[in-house]
């Protein structure tokens, strides 16, 4: 039901590392393939071969360009965006049917496809564009935090993670309990200054984003160069090479150049 349950101690969510994400789309397509046969099933693709295909996806990767210094080399930041499983999700309270709800035990926000009337109001209420309406099924779809994986007894323990997290080749996606200050994810957020998207909207996202690290290049590092003695470089190198033999270079010393 769409009155929010009492805040759960357990707050399952994702932590996404923008410093590591290369934008490979693995999390997007893994999400699609798992969920098209999972709790949100199916995620349809209208007119797939046409000039204007329209598919339902629960996770999409945006690309932003970030200009830090006033120079030409802005950096590209790949930015995966899915449901943030907010603590006070407007998408839930506006729902007239109770189809949209936040689970009391772990805070996962879900849509009950058997009850949803497809009024789309929840998608208007979500600030993050995390809900996608499935035209061919007339119901709203959204990230389920892979609720049908993370507790799934048919998987070995280590595979009980969201499909996108299992897939991510760079390890940029972390899943865990953000309600537990000692969890791996909470520590990560503390260390790396994980942040909320659009905090002013008051939705209190559970998912956190880790910012790109400061670059280590000419814009941040002082110039430095290798010390060079004086005299001809080749002579110095020769002397050094000589040193390798304990200084008793027996050969006639010559650095005369010849055309190779």
């Amino acid at each position: 039901m769409t009155c929010l349950p009492a805040p759960s101690a357990k707050k399952l969510g994702l932590v996404i590392d923008l410093d590591t994400c290369v934008g490979c789309q693995a999390c997007a397509t893994s999400c699609k393939e798992w969920n098209t046969q999972g709790y949100s099933a199916p995620l349809t693709d209208a007119n797939p071969r046409s000039a204007d295909p329209l598919g339902t996806w629960l996770n999409r990767i945006h690309g932003y360009e970030v200009k830090e210094a006033d120079n030409e080399n802005s950096r590209i930041v790949n930015f995966p965006r899915s449901c943030l499983h907010c603590e006070t999700p407007a998408c839930v309270t506006v729902c007239p049917t109770g189809a949209s709800y936040k689970r009391a035990e772990d805070g996962i926000v879900l849509v009950n496809p058997d009850v949803c009337i497809g009024c789309k109001l929840c998608s208007w209420a979500c600030p993050y564009g995390a809900r996608e309406y499935d035209y061919s099924h007339g119901v709203m779809k959204k990230c389920t935090l892979c609720v049908d994986r993370i507790y799934n007894e048919n998987f070995v323990e280590e595979d009980r993670v969201p499909a996108c997290v299992k897939a991510c080749p760079t390890g940029a996606r972390h899943f865990g309990d953000l309600g537990d200050a000692n969890s791996k994810v909470s520590k990560l957020v503390a260390e790396r200054g994980g942040y909320d998207l659009l905090p002013e909207m008051g939705t209190k996202p559970v998912n956190k984003y880790l910012p790109p690290r400061a670059r280590r290049d000419a814009t941040t590092l002082p110039p430095e160069s290798l010390p060079k003695g004086d005299g001809s470089a080749i002579d110095r190198l020769f002397a050094w090479a000589d040193g390798l033999l304990g200084g008793k270079q027996a050969a006639p010393r010559s650095t005369k150049k010849t055309k190779g």
């Binding site: 490979c24 049908d148 290049d217 000419a218 470089a233 010849t258």
Partner: protein
């Protein structure tokens, strides 16, 4: 309504899980395929697999849509309309195979080389190459020549490994990683996982790339180098390190040919060759005895530098002295190269200092005792944690071979090859430098109804190994191993269509292709390629390329230009073998290979190409493919071959589970249950080397002995890095008139210039040959991470992600040109013109424009709507890239390739950009739409 619904949190959406190997790209990760009622439901990475350890990529996770793609071919096709019209008749396999046998048989009994058999990024080159030599034609190659042979050749001629799949950075220990010109690469998931590890450890990641996307986007430092100039940048780093003596002297003396003595006898036939003893062993100087000694004598500690007089009076100098003399020259100073490569001199100096600091002050020591090739015991493994990787940003330029050698020189001077934290070999590498395989196909070796005496591809050591006639003209259709490109170890696939059509060096009877989209994104100069494929002889009215046989799984652009189409299965419907005789998937920690098993049965009348090839081989009576009684040797098809074929006794396609009991590895008798054992083991086999063998493999006694026992190496000779590359010098000498095989005059200048045994830099050709101001910009492509060449666009999921491409340009440059975001521009090269839409960004070298590779599609192909954005808005740069360079003096047109290896120089493209007069929302050129093929839609 009250309580929240209770939902099934442990659904079992499958009834069966099968392991196999992914083939959404050539990285070949292990996957688990979830099936329900025989249909594929879900594909995930296999945790136990050495390559991907459980992860999967954007392509791999879309495999379902590839497997069920509406563009799959469904039955053999015979062309009935004009080539390119798309009018085909479905035929039965018997008819198809009979036809193919006729066509091929006729060629074989007259002149086998009139068959040109070329394959794309297939992974059964062990089989296809062997088939070609059994057939008797040397006109065989896979995609390597237009892909990255520069990396393979430079590596294999320098240190017996290569960036290209034959090695990888030590992701666990490296503290400083430099990536040159990589957007995605074959090590797709391993590189991503590796970068993740570096990030977690806080190691520094520097990316040299004119474009700052993908991997470069997360680099700690991005260096937007000007295309084609990396050699200068790396040379300047070498200059700095030499000038400060920040090099690993001990490594150079012991493990490289730096101290070897090079004869100095300008003009003489021996000039620039190594001084050797009577057994041909290269000599070093023994300071204590004041005379030369064989470099194999572990007792001598030879000088790294110096000039000496040999007992026979000749002058000799250590090869390192020559290298040092070159790179200490002012033309390599940071200040000199900075303006050319667009990297500030300060940055070059700083990077040099960082490299030196990490290599020599942050060295790591693993407490693993080991013994080197001459028996010296080392109580630990000393690592210089600097690693590098490079791919097509380096190789796809006409100076790629020498530039890649320059990078290897840098790695080796820092003592970072196969040390902890450095760049590590993957089994079966290291190999002897170069591998002891020479290309077959010399005059007299190609005879009717006779196999070649060896494989069509290999490694030349000197002009004697070239495939040229007495006049010095090429024997191969693609002009591989000729004076045009002597060290073209992977052939030159990009020249096949053109040469066959122009009859230069000669015409052929049958063009047989497999898994290569050669009428589109894989061809240089698409418009003419299409003309060549359809060209007819005025007199006879016959096609200039009389017969074209092609095997594809999908309705690709190439299918439309074939006469006979042999439809292949999808990767989930067949047996495949990822063999160490081919392109290994080994890890640095140990050898690995893998198989594909059919996880579902084809629902169409298609057959696995490898099985078809063996069938054809048997029908043609190719000796190794028939029994004494003429019956097929591998009646069971490819899986039969995988298990029972032996390259040499005890060595077959798969190294795992050999021997009757399945207990022996590497070498061992045929094991009838081998495939079963592989399946039980998750469709792969991996052996982790003992610690003492994990590093210094090239000179590690224990490893070398194991490698011999395993069949990787013929003997325990150490693999001494060849910084000075003597084989190159033999070609130079030939150009100066020495030796038995001399180049024709028109080639002499070129051979003498580019076959420098010491790495150097020269500007890529196209840029030098065209009018500079007329074509001021570089134009390159990048691999999109979620698309594999042409195959991705037919994928219902992937095409939503990237259904069209843009021409990306620097904002600063756009301002100059008066172009704004979204404008359509014309892109003009010396060869052609296209119209494309522009997108602006900052993170791109201002003199460079780029786009995603292979997104543009032929309208109607791939069972896509004829107005699909891929066709109407998408575009290819290929139309602008000429496979031939502009004429030189004498009118001869060399191929647009590296002069040493023949690698296609895709990224030498220079263009001019202007706002298009016609701003209509459609790219140009547009080719006529092709009809849907029977039953693909």
């Amino acid at each position: 309504m009250g309580a929240q619904p209770n939902i099934a949190t442990s659904p079992k959406t499958w009834d069966e899980i099968k392991t196999t190997t992914c083939y959404m790209c050539a990285c070949r990760c292990g996957i688990k395929v979830y099936l329900k009622d025989g249909t594929v439901k879900y594909i995930e990475g296999n945790r136990d697999h050495p390559v991907n350890k459980g992860v999967i990529c954007g392509k791999g996770a879309s495999g379902i849509q590839q497997h069920y793609s509406p563009s799959r071919l469904s039955k053999p096709l015979l062309r009935v309309g004009e080539r390119g019209s798309g009018e085909f008749r479905e035929i039965e396999w018997d008819e198809a195979l009979a036809l193919a046998t006729d066509w091929l048989g006729a060629v074989r009994k007259t002149d086998p080389k009139k068959l040109a058999f070329f394959t794309g990024r297939d992974q059964s080159q062990g089989l296809t190459g062997w088939w070609a030599s059994q057939f008797g034609t040397m006109n065989y190659a896979a995609h390597g020549g237009f892909c990255s042979v520069n990396m393979a050749a430079a590596g294999l001629y320098t240190f017996g490994g290569a960036f290209w799949e034959f090695g990888e950075p030590d992701w666990h220990h490296t503290k400083y990683f430099m990536l040159f010109g990589v957007a995605e690469d074959h090590g797709s998931n391993p590189i991503k996982a590796g970068l993740g590890k570096l990030k977690a450890r806080g190691a520094k990641f520097v990316s040299l790339n004119p474009i700052r996307t993908g991997y470069s986007a997360i680099a700690d430092e991005w260096i937007g180098v000007k295309p084609g100039t990396d050699g200068l940048f790396v040379g300047a780093l070498i200059h700095e390190l030499l000038a400060a003596q920040k090099i690993d002297g001990e490594y150079l003396v012991r493990y490289t040919n730096s101290p070897w003595l090079v004869i100095e006898n300008p003009g003489g036939a021996d000039h620039g060759l190594f001084a050797r003893d009577k057994d041909g062993v290269a000599l070093v100087w023994d300071g204590s005895k004041k005379k030369p000694a064989p470099h194999t004598d572990g007792a001598v500690n030879p000088p790294l530098m110096g000039r000496f007089k040999l007992p026979d009076g000749r002058k000799a100098v250590t090869s390192f002295q020559l290298i040092a003399e070159r790179f200490l020259g002012d033309d390599w100073s940071p200040d000199t190269v900075a303006p050319q490569c667009g990297v500030p001199a300060d940055t070059i100096r700083r990077i040099a200092a960082e490299l030196a600091r990490v290599a020599f002050e942050e060295q790591i020591e693993l407490d693993i005792p080991w013994t080197d090739h001459v028996g010296r015991k080392h109580d630990k493994m000393i690592g210089r944690p600097v690693s590098m990787h490079a791919m097509r940003g380096i190789s796809a330029h006409a100076n790629g071979f020498q530039t890649c050698r320059t990078i290897h020189l840098l790695q080796i001077m820092l003592g970072t090859i196969d040390v902890p934290g450095g760049f590590r070999y993957k089994a079966p590498y290291p190999k002897p430098i170069p591998p002891h395989v020479k290309p077959a196909g010399k005059s007299g070796q190609v005879k009717p109804n006779t196999p070649l005496p060896g494989p069509p591809l290999g490694f030349v050591m000197s002009p004697e190994d070239l495939l040229v006639d007495e006049a010095g003209n090429p024997l191969r259709l693609d002009k591989g191993f000729s004076w045009d490109a002597p060290m073209s170890s992977h052939g030159m696939m990009h020249m096949v269509t053109t040469n066959a059509a122009l009859g230069d060096p000669y015409n052929i009877d049958v063009l047989f292709m497999y898994m290569a989209n050669m009428s589109w994104n894989s061809a240089m100069n698409v418009p003419d390629t299409i003309k060549y494929l359809t060209a007819k002889d005025e007199k006879t009215g016959e096609h200039v390329i009389p017969k074209i046989i092609y095997s594809d799984s999908y309705a690709s652009e190439m299918v439309y230009y074939a006469d006979l189409i042999l439809p292949d299965t999808t990767y989930l419907e067949r047996w495949d073998c990822i063999s160490m005789l081919d392109r290994p998937i080994s890890e640095a920690d140990g050898p690995a290979d893998a198989i594909r098993q059919p996880v579902v049965e084809p629902d169409r009348d298609v057959r696995p190409f490898q099985t078809v090839l063996l069938d054809l081989g048997a029908r043609l009576g190719l000796p190794a493919m028939v029994k004494a009684d003429g019956s097929p040797r591998y009646p069971g098809g490819y899986s039969d071959y995988i298990v029972n074929h032996e390259r040499t006794p005890g060595i077959g396609p798969l190294a795992g589970f050999r021997g009757e009991d399945g207990k022996s590895f590497g070498k061992g008798a045929v094991n009838p249950d081998q495939l079963k054992r592989y399946i039980e083991n998750g469709c792969h086999w991996y052996y982790e080397l003992p610690d003492e063998m994990k590093y210094f493999k090239h000179v590690n006694k224990a490893y070398l002995e194991w490698a011999v026992s395993f069949g990787f190496l013929g003997n325990t000779e150490p693999i001494i890095h060849q910084l000075y590359c003597e084989p190159l010098q033999t070609f130079r000498l030939a150009a100066q008139g020495h030796g038995k095989v001399i180049p024709p005059d028109r080639h002499k200048q070129r051979i003498e210039t580019y076959f420098d045994p010491i790495p150097f830099w020269y500007p890529p050709f196209e840029g030098e040959m065209v009018e500079k101001d007329a074509f001021p910009m570089h134009a390159v492509t990048q691999r999109p991470m979620a698309m594999y060449h042409s195959w991705g666009s037919q994928n219902t999921w992937l095409r939503q992600i990237l259904g069209r491409n843009w021409l990306y340009m620097a904002r600063s440059k756009a301002k100059e040109l008066g172009v704004v975001d979204g404008d359509w521009v014309t892109v003009t090269s010396h060869h052609g013109k296209i119209k494309a839409p522009v997108k602006l960004m900052d993170g791109v070298n201002a003199d460079t424009v780029w786009t995603w590779n292979a997104i543009g599609k032929r309208s109607g192909a791939w069972a896509l709507d004829k107005d699909a954005p891929e066709a109407k808005k998408g575009f290819l740069l290929n139309h602008l890239i000429s496979e031939l360079l502009p004429e030189r003096g004498g009118g001869y047109r060399y191929s647009n390739s590296d002069p040493v290896t023949g690698q296609a120089a895709w990224y030498d493209l220079k263009v001019r950009i202007e706002k298009a007069a016609d701003q209509s929302d459609e790219s140009a050129p547009q080719f006529p739409s092709v009809k849907p093929l029977p039953r693909t839609t």
